[in-house]
Amino acid sequence: MARLAAGEGKRVLACEMDDKGSLAAYLGRDDLTFSPVEVSPNLYAMAMNTEDSLREYIRLFLRVPVLGSLTPLARIFDFVANAAPAVKEILAVGKLCYEVRERHYDIVIVDSEASGHFVAQVSAPDALATLVRIGIVADQTKWMSNLLHDPEVSTVLAVVTPEEMPVVETIELRDRLATATPIDFAGVLVNRMPAALVDAELLATVAPTSGHLATSVQVGEWLSERRSNAELHARRLADALELGNVETIAEAPAGTHSPERITDHLVGEMRRILDEHA
């Protein structure tokens, strides 16, 4: 999505929240740091790190002279992260909100943590606001909440594979988000939809047989069942979320090993979806 937006001429920041390093791989880099780097024209990418976020925060807002060595800062971080609830979450969300507020980019795309953790992260400013009523953190949570709650500014897009568990989780995610925070929910993107290679009706026309052809028919049935199960789950999701339809992205061809090739495939699929809606 970041690659696509940058290709459309937008200045983009992509951020990976959970330090897995896969965003780097998909964008063709060995690794990413807290400081955004321009990975391709107009596309900047970073990896979230709460300690660096705290350092930047102190430098920008508190104007405390750079704290000599790293030791005292690490100690503060240790204290803050362990003792004060939500601080890790707020430092992560805060950094992203800051980039949005300062309009350094046209769009900030965040690869969030797994669904269970995401709700805690995105609702951290709301949760903290009920705890801390005065002080810098209290002031800070207000503008963050305002940005996150404004549907013109922020939205959540769920990405799901068309399988039972991920679908159940995505429905839960939407419900939990709705109770935890008034953030906008844009919808879902169903990824890795298996190709429709063989039509089940066509297979049914093949008379009962034996030997190699029988195996070929079983292969066809296996692939066709995989496809129809996936379609069923995509439909269940659309029904549960009351979205007339969900957008689906085809599975990359088998043997697409390189993450960069997978990115190319995804960009192509998203262009197709956009064209269909144009």
């Binding site: 896969s22 102190i58 609830p85 979450e89 991920p166 290679l197 195996t215 292969v219 993450p259």
Partner: protein, 392 residues
């Protein structure tokens, strides 16, 4: 009705034979901790191992899920499961199976009730606003109670085997590191300063740049809320720290084995490989890597050749075989092409999976393979079938 003694066996459902390596792992382990990237069937694998263990061994088995998303309940066909253990019906099982999910808030409350020095402190902790928010809303509060909970399950003597499903990816590591962090937290000088009597804390506040920064970030009122909470919490230091040590020891116990679950997709494998490395670095015993979602070998074997044979006019076209097949069932060109495309797809998937397995074997642990099956895992029977089909 007369039942001949010799026919008794027929009343007992037949057990599918288990792979010897899987049998060995389930026979020896007292605790199995399952780690893995999201979306590879980790929770399902945990449930399947629990079901197989309870069915094939006279063991009392508990499956504990710590994933904030409620996946295991769905896999076991249970509506909801809570903090308490729920028995799962298992026909023809040698042992028994319970399942529980860790409710962070309830587990913290239990811990406070157990360790608080007196009723007044207990009620003040439980009623503290900071405590309530901390325990019910924040991700990292989850990690420590998970380890407390699995320690309880093991030490209660109620279970012979505890299978623990951890949160996806790296979150599993923060769970495993939680006991050590809890210990360090109580021994940190900062906590001691923070919870010192108010008078001396004020002096510290004035004299330490650290507190000036903390105060400016968090605000004096919040800081004193935190201080009050941790002052109360510190009254539990002794029992909590000694338990944290025992929990840490349990995680490194030789009877505790670790299983990493992955799929053959490159991104999942990258993450699983990282987990394997990190578990070893922490000195944990990696017992197996479960590789899910492999293409069934009976379909994959010979797929490329069958695709060739299906294409008419191909020089490799097996005339003899094709004519025999054609006699069985005359195929239209469209059907032939569709089947050939399917065979080529299966062959490509199989090649990718073979390469993935070769890499996984290089990680040096035993590899348990699971082929992807038609239909979803929605009940105990399908979980059992999935677990029994695991092969090295």
């Amino acid at each position: 009705m007369i039942v001949a003694p010799g026919n008794m066996d027929e009343t007992i459902e037949q057990f599918a034979p288990l792979d010897p390596e899987l049998f060995d792992m389930l026979a020896k382990s007292r605790m199995i901790i399952i780690c893995g990237p999201g979306g590879v069937g980790k929770t399902t694998s945990a449930a399947a191992l629990g079901v197989v263990a309870a069915r094939h061994f006279p063991k009392r088995v508990l499956v504990l899920t710590v994933d904030p998303a409620r996946r295991l309940a769905t896999a076991l066909g249970l509506g909801t499961i809570g903090n308490a253990e729920v028995p799962v019906e298992l026909a023809g099982a040698k042992g028994s199976l319970d399942i529980a999910m860790i409710d962070t808030k309830a587990s913290w409350d239990d811990m406070v009730r157990r360790h608080a020095p007196d009723g007044v402190t207990r009620d003040r902790v439980l009623g503290n606003d900071l405590y309530k928010t901390l325990t019910s809303r924040f991700v990292h509060s989850h990690d420590y109670v998970v380890t407390e909970r699995l320690y309880d399950a093991r030490e209660s003597g109620v279970y012979d085997l505890v299978v623990v499903d951890t949160p996806p990816s790296r979150s599993a590591l923060s769970v495993l590191d939680a006991p050590r962090r809890m210990e360090q937290f109580f021994s940190s000088r900062l906590l001691k300063l923070l919870t010192a009597p108010t008078q001396s804390r004020l002096l510290s506040l004035a004299s330490r740049p650290f507190f000036i920064v903390a105060d400016r970030i968090l605000g004096a009122a919040f800081l004193s809320d935190i201080a009050e909470f941790f002052t109360l919490f510190r009254t539990m230091e002794g029992p909590v720290v000694s338990r944290a040590r025992r929990v840490g020891a349990l995680l490194s116990d030789p009877a505790t084995s670790y299983v990493v679950v992955t799929s053959p997709e490159p991104v999942a494998m990258q993450e699983a490989g990282y987990l394997v490395e990190e578990l070893r670095r922490r000195g944990h015993r990696l017992d197996a890597v479960v590789t899910n979602r492999l293409v069934p070998s009976r379909l994959a074997t010979g797929a490329a050749e069958r695709a060739e044979a299906l294409i008419e006019g191909n020089p490799l076209h097996d005339v003899e075989r094709a004519s025999r097949d054609a006699a069985d069932a005359p195929l239209t060109t469209a059907t032939r092409r569709a089947l050939a495309a399917a065979e080529r797809e299966i062959a490509n998937i199989a090649n990718q999976h073979a390469a993935a397995l070769a890499e996984i074997r290089r990680w040096g642990a035993r590899v348990l393979m699971s082929e992807s099956r038609g239909g979803d895992i929605t009940d105990v029977t399908s979980l059992l079938a999935l677990g029994e089909a695991l092969r090295t």
